[in-house]
Structures are given as C-alpha cells and as structure tokens.
C-alpha cells in the first residue's frame, strides 16, 4: 500500500515537476533582493529572458541563430532612444523596442530560414554583423559613446521606476510574464508542430505543415522576446551601447543556454544566472575572461551536453 502511494506521489511530483520548479524559481526571485544586489539580479533576469527567447529557437525548432545580439541590441537602442529623445513612458519604450525586434526578426528570418543547420547559423551571424555596422555608423546610437542617461520614467504614469524596488518588481513581472508565455507557446499545438519539424522536417512537410511558415513565426517570436529583454535592459542600466549588438553577445547567449541545458524550460534561466555571476567574478581576474568562456564552451560540448538543468532533470528523472 505504502509503496503504491509513494509511487503515485512520485508520479504526481513528476507530472507537476514544471509547476513546482516554477514556484520555486518565483519564490527565490521574490526573496532574492534581500540577499543579492538588485541591479545584478535585474541584469541576470534580462539575460535569462534573452536566453529563453534564444532557446525557443534552438531547443524547440532546432535552429541555431548566431545573430541574436541583433534583436537584443537594436531593441535596447530603440527603447533607449524612445525613452530619452521621444519622451516615451517606459511601457511604450519597451514595446517599441520589442516591435523593432519583431520587424527585424521577420526580415532576417525570411532570409535565413531558406537554409538549415550551420548555414542558418552563418547567415544569421553575417546579417547581425551587417546590422552591427549600421549601429556603429548611425548617428542616433552615438557610436562608441552609446545612448547614455536614459530616464527610467514612470510606469503607467504613476509608478516611479527610479526607485530600485519598483524597477525590480517590473523587471520580475516582465520576466515571469514572458516566461509563462514561452511555456504556453511550447505546449500549444503550434509548439507541437515546431517540435515535429525539429525531429523530422520532411515528415512534417509531408503531413501538410508548411514548415517554412512555422519556422518563420517561431523566429519572429524568438526575436520579439529577445527584444523585450534588450529593451528592459536598456532601462535597467539606463544606457544602450554597441556591446549589446556585437557578435560576442550572440556567442554569450548561446553559451548561457548551452550551460543551462538546450531545450529545457528552466535551463536558460539557470545558465544566464550562472554566466552573469561568473562574469562578475571575472571582472576581478580580468585577463582570463575569454579563456574561461572558451573552456566552458569546450567542456559543455564534449562532456556536459545536457547542461545544468538537463543533468538535474536526468538525476531526478523529471521534466524541467
């Protein structure tokens, strides 16, 4: 009897593993500001959302984009410009950043999905680099100086975001909202088709799914979420700069997702927190930052392909 009950409990645990993990994550994030530095947490949350957006593409459609910095960086530029020069309130600034990212995503996506696999990676990288050069030259980005002193403004006209805890709550709400939305997308019929395309594209096509259209929609969605992350980051740090559009940023988001676990729901979040913490450590040892990142890449690819959350899920035998 007891054993059956335990097994049943296990099963329930397993079925609800994602919900439990979500509650744990939310709980941790709510209490986190009491023991960690809020700006650091907000940065990690922005990157976590960025990594989740990226993971939507690699983990659930099987497309490796090497140009996601394009959406992240351009959204942060547009949001910063909107808030500073046009005087947009924060919610509209973030929306305009996200809309820009969606538009760019549609163009880049339409070009890139014509090829698969590594070609896809190289094309996204090349297009992102092209847009990087535009960002360098365009006068409104102020080149190397970046857009500085971006006002955080008042959310909906009355919540003052200059207050650190208000800002943290907004970033947390944006992150959790987008996270749930991504979860919803993955588990919708649309998401199932995406997974089918990932597993066997010709078969999906033979079943009558227009795979190109599905891939394009997924690409635009991923770009949009990346844009939300970039736009939010511009408000958190009150600046937008070339680092966020440059290609090492695309490499970093890949690394975050890989470390956390490709194709897992919580992997990108864990990976982002891991990498941002690491980056903080590395500011003090400076010179070895590239080497350390490179070693992590190599180790992950050779020995640790499931990533932190993937391995954890394996040990606990649950879905995360």
């Amino acid at each position: 009897m007891q054993r059956v009950a335990k097994a049943r409990g296990d099963l329930a645990l397993r079925r609800h593993s994602e919900a439990i993990a979500f509650l744990v994550m939310t709980g941790l994030l709510v209490v986190a500001p009491t023991f960690a530095y809020p700006v650091f947490l907000m940065k990690a949350l922005c990157f976590a959302l960025f990594a989740c957006a990226f993971n939507l593409l690699i983990g659930f459609v099987g497309l490796l984009s090497f140009g996601h910095a394009l959406f992240f960086g351009w959204a942060s530029y547009i949001a910063a410009h909107a808030a500073k020069v046009w005087g947009f309130p924060p919610e509209l600034a973030i929306l305009s950043g996200a809309a820009t990212a969606a538009g760019l995503g549609a163009i880049v996506g339409a070009l890139a999905i014509r090829r698969q696999g590594i070609y896809f990676a190289m094309i996204t990288l090349a297009l992102a680099q092209m847009m990087y050069f535009f960002a360098v030259q365009a006068p409104f980005t102020h080149g190397e100086d970046g857009i500085q002193a971006v006002p955080r403004g008042k959310l909906f006209g009355f919540i003052d975001l200059a207050d650190q805890s208000n800002m943290y709550i907004m970033v947390l709400v944006i992150f959790l909202g987008c996270f749930l939305l991504i979860y919803r997308i993955i588990n919708s019929p649309f998401g199932e088709v995406l997974k089918a395309i990932r597993e066997n594209e010709p078969r999906a096509i033979s079943l009558g799914y227009k795979s190109e259209r599905y891939k394009l929609v997924a690409f635009v969605l991923s770009a949009t979420f990346a844009g939300v992350a970039g736009a939010t980051k511009a408000l958190v740090f009150q600046l937008a700069s070339l680092t966020d559009v440059d290609w090492p940023m695309s490499g970093e988001v890949i690394l975050m997702t890989l470390v956390g676990g490709l194709g897992t729901l919580f992997g990108p979040v864990a990976g982002a927190f891991f990498m941002v913490t690491l980056e903080n450590y590395l500011t003090t040892i400076g010179q070895w930052v590239f080497v350390v990142q490179g070693v992590i890449f190599v180790v992950c690819v050779l020995l640790f392909r499931r990533g932190i959350i993937g391995e954890l899920a394996q040990v606990l035998r649950v879905k995360l």
Binding site: P139, E144, D145, G146, L239, T284, V289
Partner: protein, 403 residues
C-alpha cells in the same frame, strides 16, 4: 558577493588608525576600473593599478595614519559590466573613488552613477571631451587628455611648422567624426587647408585603398582620425605603399606609446602625435619608469598610467586636507581649490568644469638609427603651454561654469 570583492584587494596599506580623521568605514577605497583583457589593456590595464599603488606608497599614506585600499576590476569594455561593478563597489564595498576607465561608453555611464551616488570619478583613460563639456558633473575630474586637446595640439603645431594642407582618414563613427571635425577647425583657424577626407568603416583591416585616395590628394599631412588597431594598420600600410617616403607625413590624432611599440620604429618613424606625458622627458619620469616597468611586464608607462598616479596623489592630498572622504562633491571641490603638484605632471590646476590643466607635448617618432635604448621612441617637437592646451572654459558648454 561581499567576499568576492574583498578578494579583489590588490594592495592594502595598513595605517595605525590613531588619527581622528573620518573616513567612511575607516578606509579610503580606490577602485581602478579599466580594460584588462581587451584593446586598451596595454595602455591602461594592470599598469593603472600599479600606478595607483605607487601613488599611495609615495604619498606615505600609512605614515600619515590613512588606511588606503586599492581594488581593481576589468570592465571588458562593456558599459553594463562597468556600471554593475561601480554600483556594487559603491553600494556594497564602500569604494570612495573610481579611477581611470578608458572606453567612452563606460566612462560616460560611470560619470552618471558617480554623480548620483556623490562619490569621486577621476578619468585618465577615456578621451571623450564631453566629460568636461555638456556632461560635466561636480564629481568628475578629467585628468590626462581629451580629444579636443589632441586635435588642438596636433593640428596647431603641425600647421605652424609648415604642414598646411591636410587630408583626413576618418573612422566612420561618432568618435572619428568628432576628432576630424575638431582638428579640421583648428587647422583652418591657423591658416591651413583641408583638401579632402575619406571615411573608412570601423573597425577596418585594409586601409590601402583609402591611403591611395589620400596620396592622390597631394596633401602634406594625412590626419588619422581613428584609434587602436585601425591607426596601427593605417600607419603600417602607409609605410608599405611608400606614402611616408613620398614626402607626405602622417599625424595620428589618438595614439599611445604602446601603439608605437607595436608598430616598431621602422614603420612608425616620422609619425607625429600629441601626448600629455612621456617617460623619457625628465629625471623624475625616468625614475618612476624604472620602478614601474618591471612590475608591468616591461611595458613603459603611458600617459594614462602617469595620469592615474597624478590623480590619485592629488585626491589623497585633498582627502588629507579635508580629513574626510565621505562627501564626493566636497572632495572634488577641494581638489579644484588646491593647486596640483606631483613629480610626474609638475604644477597645475583643476578647472571649474573638472578639466585638469597641464602642458601637452607634440612628439615625432624617432628613426631606428636615432633610438638608443628599448622604448626610446620620441623626440619632442613642441610644447603646448598649459593655457593653450585645453578647450577654453567658456566653449565647453559645461553647466557648472555658467552658475
């Protein structure tokens, strides 16, 4: 996090703790932040931490009962990493002064944070003249050089010595445009003529095609309004295409002695540039270099390193006079009020807009045959007196000046 940053302590100079001075959490904490792994690692990097440490030692902080601690960090040329470090330093680790910070995007971001938190920001590595212009703050002092001073020094001195026709090779982004604009204005004001310009993409690798256009212009001087590896490659390729041997001279508008070292004299000879400091200029500088170089892999100090030394020295003097480091605005006001005097930069002043005033020097890179020792690279062509070296106070548009 806290533990993490205490690990960063590079040097701790213990005091006896017997003085009555009021220092926040008992110590004066100096945060040296710059690029320790990227493009600017040679000209700032670890060397700036060494220079700051030497300044603290020479000041004799320990003997005076001041407890000074130096922490260092790498901003990786990313403004978000830089602002995160500075915010944590100030809020968690109680750092009182931020020093160096090359890369204008990071410097401008730090400028805002330091003002909000009322600490002190001493810029040595960054070039942006906006820091003492529209973006000046009562908490920031721009110490070593800026784009205006470089453009002015190089432009004016060259025109006066006969280089009156110019062609610009400009990096196509905000920084390059500003450098080109400022220099062209100086050239024309002094009776020179700008024959043309070409804007190259940033970053570039091959400049030969732009250099040929510069050659065809027959201008006497080719002004390089770019930086870092772009400048190095332009100079290297100009020598390859026989431009320098053909009678045209190159003027680098932003270059450091480490760039000359990378090029080698064979290639760099004849190059004209402006700097605020050179290690072989006098005995005091040479003595400083003798102590500095062995600690920084043999690299001889750049003007950025010397600027860090000078800035930290003056900061400590002001704090000593005030007996407090708590109020950043007050410390900076004191620094502006006291004349500066240290062994590397001599006597000078800090202006109301936060600009440190000292002479600038126009150097020409020696021929290989003229160089007698390693790092013996420059001969002095002109000294630009302190009152002419920097942008006049009224022209910067700094809000602090009007009030």
């Amino acid at each position: 996090m806290k533990r993490l940053f205490t690990l960063t302590a590079v040097a701790v100079v213990f005091g006896c703790g017997c003085a009555q001075a009021q220092y926040t959490d008992g110590t004066i904490k100096i945060g040296v932040m710059n690029d320790m792994s990227g493009t600017y690692a040679d000209l700032s990097g670890q060397g700036s931490v060494i220079a700051a440490r030497m300044a603290v030692e020479d000041f004799g902080a320990a003997a005076k009962g001041m407890k000074v601690e130096i922490v260092g960090a790498d901003h990786q040329n990313k403004p978000d990493v830089g602002s995160n470090v500075v915010r944590t330093w100030i809020d968690v680790d109680k750092v009182d002064v931020i020093v160096d910070v090359p890369t204008s995007s990071v410097a401008l971001a730090v400028n805002e944070i330091v003002r909000d938190k009322n600490k002190v920001f001493l810029v040595s590595g960054a070039a942006a003249s906006d820091l003492t212009g529209p973006k000046c703050t009562p908490n920031t002092i721009h110490w070593t050089y800026d784009t205006w001073a470089l453009a002015n020094g190089t432009g004016k001195a060259i025109v006066k010595t006969g280089g009156d026709t110019w062609f610009f090779l400009t990096a196509d982004y905000a920084f390059g445009h500003a450098l080109e604009r400022d220099t062209a204005a100086v050239v024309e004001k002094n009776g020179g003529k700008v024959l043309g310009k070409v804007r190259h993409p940033f970053p570039g690798t091959d400049f030969s095609s732009f250099l040929l256009q510069a050659q065809a212009s027959k201008a006497k001087i080719i002004g390089l309004a770019n930086a870092g590896s772009d400048t190095i490659n332009s100079i290297k390729q100009a020598s390859e295409f026989g431009i320098t041997s053909g009678g045209q001279n190159l003027a680098a508008l932003l270059a450091f002695i480490t760039d000359v070292h990378a090029l080698g004299l064979q290639t760099a000879q004849g190059l004209i540039m402006t700097e605020a400091w050179y290690w072989d200029l006098n005995d005091a500088n040479r003595e400083f270099t003798k102590k500095f170089a062995p600690q920084d892999k043999g690299v001889h100090p750049t003007m950025v390193h010397a600027g860090v030394y000078s800035a930290v020295t003056h900061y400590l003097k002001a704090v000593e006079a005030l007996k407090s480091d708590a109020d950043g605005k007050a410390v900076v006001a004191k620094m502006k009020e006291m004349p500066t005097d240290d062994k590397l930069f001599g006597k000078g002043v800090v202006r109301a807009d936060g600009r440190k005033i000292h002479p600038m020097y126009l150097f020409e890179v020696k021929k290989p045959s003229e160089s007698k020792a390693p790092w013996d690279y420059y001969k002095l062509r002109a000294t630009i007196p302190a009152d002419e070296a920097f942008r006049p106070l009224a022209e910067g548009g700094c809000p602090l000046v009007k009030s």
